[in-house]
Amino acid sequence: MWVYEKKMEHPIRVCRPDVGFAKLVITQYGGPDGELGASLRYLNQRYSMPTGVAKAA
């Protein structure tokens, strides 16, 4: 169901470490109200849609 690729979809360039910003990103990413939880909810809602187009998109 999931395939890992050792590559980015879009190039990024991290030019310097920034612990404060990293903390913000990680919280928004995986925290209690983060993107990971939201994205899994959207994914499961999507699979319960009535039409094929809605399931796919």
């Binding site: 050792k6 590559k7 979809e9 879009h10 187009v53 796919a56 998109a57």
Partner: protein, 83 residues
């Protein structure tokens, strides 16, 4: 990562972007045969680039070609943030 490796990775990313956009378009326009041809061409070119990359620089796909140099390289090939 040397220049040749970076250049090939850039081509893979570009072609994958093309394929993803066409795939999303085809989900809502399944009867557009021109787009379908473009999509299949993009996928063919993408596969060609991926195989070339994996032969020359090591594996990028978890389920893909590994060990072309006679050893398992998935563990040691660079992670996305190391490129």
């Amino acid at each position: 990562m040397d220049n040749a490796q970076c250049a090939l990775m850039k081509k893979i990313c570009e072609m994958e972007f093309v394929a993803i956009e066409l795939q999303l378009y085809l989900d809502t326009h399944p009867c557009d045969s021109d787009a379908l041809n473009d999509y299949n061409c993009a996928v063919d070119v993408l596969r060609k680039y991926q195989l070339k990359y994996e032969d020359e620089f090591g594996s990028i796909m978890e389920i893909g070609h590994h060990g072309v140099n006679g050893k398992w390289d998935w563990v040691n090939s660079p992670w996305p943030w190391q490129m």
